[in-house]
């Protein structure tokens, strides 16, 4: 196996394993149901529209999970995160929402999401392409096509869901977000609460950035928590820092690792895409990988992932070793977060 194929294989395996573990912890039918990091279901769903193209079983189990659990998603947040995703992810999300609605799962999810994503989904003149990367072109011609995905421009056999998904595993620390939503409802409050549980002193702008919510709603809830004696406040320079009061923090003795999945998942997906087999010379593949690593370098340094790619300027003078090293570090981190 050549070096690029080996990098692709290893990164793909680690990333898909990480996605499977997180989904399994939220109730998707799978073998592992643990996640040592805090799961971000909205970011995970959006990236699964790309990762699922590498793993058809994952894609369909996610659809199955949505039929049962879509009401657990924060739709406003999902919309914002989806807007940062790729056009293909938004198209597939719209198709997934339709499939879920047809099966009676998550009325709001099925109704609201396609409206937001209609523009992408209805793009005229779009060529149809295979949904799954493992599909052979001719497969689509002799199997029946799924009409919903075909309408969105993707060829696949009809969706056949197993109905084996369950509710998120509440005992898993990785599912803390669902607990917070059960406690205070979906929205910025649950996000602020989750962030405070997983951090010590922190400030509003950072919480807003990490949770994909507006600064105003975050600041307002922080003030409410402090007013009610549920959060402590102190000032540091121009920043007002907050943390949960000891009593409230003690209610969550096992805290998951916070990972900025909103930034990390797309970076992993883009690296996989850069390594995906294409009709390119080996030199062009390395160039594509270098561009991807450079572009995603800040995201790979994001909180909780913290992989340093380093300065790639002049990499070609030494050959691709520095790129290989970078991808291997990303792969190792993804495998570490997936757990043993």
């Amino acid at each position: 196996m050549d070096r690029i194929a080996l990098l692709r294989e290893n990164l793909s395996q680690a990333t898909l394993e990480l996605a499977w573990r997180q989904w399994s912890a939220t109730g998707l039918a799978g073998t592992q149901d643990t996640s040592r990091s805090l799961i971000d279901p909205e970011a995970l769903l959006v990236v699964s529209m790309t990762l699922g193209r590498h793993d058809a079983r994952l894609f369909d189990e996610v659809l199955d999970w949505l039929v049962k659990n879509a009401p657990l998603l924060d739709l406003a947040r999902l919309r914002r995160i989806a807007r940062r995703g790729t056009p293909t992810e938004r198209s597939l999300l719209a198709a997934a929402a339709r499939v879920v609605a047809e099966r009676g799962g998550g009325a709001n999810f099925g109704r609201l999401l396609p409206i937001d994503l209609e523009e992408v989904e209805r793009k005229p003149g779009r060529d149809q392409e295979d949904l799954f990367f493992s599909q052979k072109g001719q497969q689509a011609s002799w199997t029946e096509r799924d009409p919903t995905f075909a309408a969105a421009g993707f060829l696949r056999s009809p969706v056949d869901l197993r109905g084996l998904s369950s509710r998120p595993n509440a005992t898993n620390p990785g599912c803390l977000r669902f607990q917070a939503r059960a406690l205070v409802g979906q929205g910025s409050r649950a996000e602020v609460l989750t962030y405070l549980i997983t951090h010590d002193w922190t400030y509003g702008r950072l919480i807003a950035e990490r949770t994909a919510y507006g600064q105003a709603s975050v600041a307002s809830y922080l003030a409410s928590l402090q007013g009610a004696g549920l959060a402590d406040r102190r000032e540091e320079g121009k920043k007002a820092l907050y943390r949960l009061s000891d009593g409230l923090r003690d209610a969550f003795p096992t805290r998951p690792l916070f990972v900025d999945w909103i930034r990390v998942w797309p970076a992993l997906a883009e690296l996989l895409e850069a390594l995906r087999t294409a009709q390119l010379t080996e030199e062009a593949m390395w160039i594509r990988l270098a561009e991807s690593l450079r572009k995603q370098e800040p995201a790979l340094r994001a909180e909780g992932f913290e992989v340093e790619i380093g300065d790639l300027r002049g990499w070609a003078r030494q050959g691709p070793d520095v790129l290989v090293d970078g991808v291997e570090r990303v792969t190792a981190k993804a495998a570490e977060l997936a757990g043993p």
């Binding site: 010379t281 593949m285 160039i287 790639l312 070609a316 003078r317």
Partner: protein
């Protein structure tokens, strides 16, 4: 800075790969200057950049190949060049259309038909003018700047006095001023071509 012909070739090879990786091109570019000499294997000095004279458009059933002035260079080509600059630690303008203005006053007659091609991957073809045409360009540059890197390049091309005279005649079409005529005369004398210098001074 490219310290060898191999370094120029490496950058062009990566440029071809970068175009391919980005799904851009194909581009056919005409290169002159020190980089062109390196590509044809007669470069003797380090060169700081790759000078693009023009983009070449392939012949159609209605016309032969044509050279098109593109200054600045097309955006996809510049973006790919930026990728290469980053990958090799080159200056941002290592690929530039500096000499493109030469097209304004006309290139040596029939230059298009004397170009030779070298492919750097499926998306990039480099075209280099003939030795005689390169002598024309170098004569113009050397007369303009005096003794230095351009006269060194010209010496590397080992021109005859007849070739230098042809180069000087073309250079006059670019700059017909009396001051430039005097510079050309000086250059021809520097190359021990007294008769050619005499012809230019009275031509």
């Amino acid at each position: 800075m490219f310290d060898s012909g191999a370094a120029v070739r490496e950058s062009l090879s990566l440029l071809g790969a970068a175009l391919e990786a980005r799904g851009a091109g194909p581009y056919e570019i005409v290169v002159i200057g020190g980089a062109a000499l390196s590509v044809i294997g007669i470069g003797i000095r380090p060169t700081k950049d790759v000078d693009v004279l023009a983009l070449r458009q392939a012949p159609t059933h209605l016309s032969g190949p044509t050279l098109v002035k593109r200054k600045p260079l097309p955006e996809p080509l510049l973006a790919a060049a930026a990728t290469v600059a980053d990958a090799l630690g080159l200056s941002a303008d290592w690929l530039n259309a500096g000499p493109a203005d030469l097209l304004d006053h006309g290139l040596p007659e029939g230059l298009e038909s004397r170009l030779t091609a070298e492919s750097f991957g499926p998306q990039l073809t480099i075209w280099v003018p003939s030795r005689g045409d390169l002598i024309c360009f170098k004569t113009y540059a050397a007369a303009d700047t005096g003794v230095g890197r351009h006269t060194e390049d010209l010496q590397a091309l080992e021109p005859s006095c007849e070739e230098l005279l042809a180069g000087a005649a073309w250079a006059r079409s670019q700059d017909p001023s009396e001051a430039f005529r005097a510079m050309l005369v000086g250059l021809l004398r520097y190359f021990h071509c007294a008769a050619a210098a005499e012809e230019i001074s009275h031509g």
